[in-house]
């Protein structure tokens, strides 16, 4: 991934030669990528390609076995949990407390992130309003539909104004309209609020031609670059074709 930032500031996310194995099974093999400020980087790969392992390593849920991972220049393995500060996360599984209200869920997260009560409330209001969820603040999460729950999780991930936003297959199980809405919203976050976004998915239609793209296949990087360039380099007409070709071939 070319680092398009002209300044010498470190990229929002830098992954260098990371390999990971569960016992004998290799899940990641010499993976390197970087996500610059304001970039929407799609991490495209079939199920089992290693996306979830990569996310677990970046978030510190797994310890790095080999290679280096840095978030805005800080390495969680070296600098401790404080390195996770600039990170916003949307997990694949739902992680809201169903019996608490939207506000209570957000207040919990704001406190975890060290925000004061007042700041937390204010930030929650702002993010919910942007996602057209303000009037749902007092509702129990259990009473919300899947699309609305995802929006709450997105608002939550943005409460502490992260510089790097990681989303692990955030549209799984949503209807088409909710999907489009979330895809568009996160693209805007990258472009307008200059958040660095790493979006893991196996759904090709979520990737735009001018997005940065990393294709992960069987634990290795099969292709990387601007989405349209990756398509051209693979000699394909569209991303769907390119993806099929890239993931059919066994990586070197």
């Amino acid at each position: 991934m070319p680092d398009r930032a002209a300044t010498p500031a470190p990229p929002a996310l830098s992954v260098q030669s990371v390999s990971h194995a569960y016992g004998k099974r290799r899940a990641l093999d010499d993976v390197s990528l970087s996500v610059a400020k304001g970039s929407f980087t799609a991490l495209l790969g079939p199920n089992g390609a290693g996306k979830t392992t990569l996310f677990a390593l970046v978030t510190g849920l797994l310890g790095v076995q080999s290679g280096r991972i840095a978030i805005c220049g800080a390495e969680p393995s070296r600098d401790g949990a404080a390195a996770l500060e600039p990170l916003g996360l949307v997990f694949q599984q739902p992680t809201l407390d169903l019996d608490l209200t939207v506000s209570q869920n957000l207040a919990y997260f704001a406190a975890l992130r060290g925000l004061s009560r007042r700041d937390g409330r204010q930030r929650a209001e702002d993010e919910l309003a942007r996602l057209d969820m303000a009037e749902r603040a007092g509702e129990r999460v259990r009473d919300l539909n899947g699309g609305h729950r995802r929006r709450v999780e997105l608002a939550r991930a943005l409460l502490h104004e992260p510089r790097l936003l990681l989303l692990d297959e955030p549209t799984v199980g949503l209807d088409i309209e909710s999907r489009h809405r979330i895809v568009a919203y996160v693209h805007d976050l990258a472009r307008e609020r200059r958040v660095a976004v790493l979006w893991a998915t196996h759904l090709i239609d979520e990737v735009r031609a001018d997005d940065d793209l990393v294709v992960l296949h069987q634990g290795g990087i099969a292709a990387a670059g601007r989405s349209e360039e990756v398509v051209a380099a693979a000699g394909a007409d569209n991303l769907s074709d390119a993806f099929t070709r890239l993931t059919r071939r066994a990586p070197a």
């Binding site: 569960y22 016992g23 899940a27 089992g48 290693g50 979830t52 392992t53 677990a56 978030t59 510190g60 849920l61 797994l62 310890g63 401790g80 949990a81 404080a82 390195a83 996770l84 500060e85 990170l87 996360l89 997990f91 694949q92 599984q93 739902p94 992680t95 809201l96 407390d97 019996d99 608490l100 209570q104 207040a107 919990y108 997260f109 704001a110 406190a111 975890l112 992130r113 060290g114 925000l115 004061s116």
Partner: protein, 267 residues
Amino acid sequence: MRRKLRAARGVIAREILRFLQQRGRLLAALVRPLVWLIVFAAGFRSILGVAIQPPYATYITYDVYIAPGLIAMIQLFNGMQSSLSMVYDREMGSMRVLLTSPQPRWFLLFAKLVAGTVVSILQVLAFLAIAAAFGITFPLAGYLLVLPVLMLTGLMLGSVGMFLSSAIRQLENFAGVMNFVIFPAFFLSSALYPLWRMRESSEILWRISAANPFTHAVEAIRFAIHGQLNLFACGVVTAVLILFLVLALWGYDTSRGLRARAGPAGE
């Protein structure tokens, strides 16, 4: 430091909110010991006399004797239940929200432990209020002294539960462990009968019961609620707390614990 306190406040507030939402849980937490206190103790009060022994200065009725044991039982169930919710949280993913916050893992897990203990103390206070309505009361000094001791015993029982939750992968396995932990811990202790009575029938069972950490938790509470501090019992409780806390933190260590867990299912 301020951010740490906020994070801890968040974890504790969430635990209390969740507890208040689950009315059934409060009911279960109270009905269990109350059944013992009202039904069981009433039936046995005529059969089982309790001799004068510290901290009691006079003969006491059986319901007064078992009240501290039932308080410890509330904390035992709560400790296991919070760790059960940790297994659940881990399967559901909300554990990830906690563990990916920018605080050291030991701090986050300890905050979680304190939160569970605070909830257990709320349950105990509700139990004491109902017991008082049935005429089982303790000296005022006891009500005050028991609070810090409850914090200690609650943390100990919670740390045992947290260690179990780090070692057990699935909810189904957990139910079995509950049976193997809760029942032996409760029956092989001084909660329901003084240990010397146990010794009359079996020397081995007496030895096991005397070594049982839960016995020491019960005795620490028993002395405290009568306004006395049992330093030996509190010392044993503290030592067990530290041991299981270390084991639990080790179990939740990034490079070890989660690797085993994230294994095939994580990818």
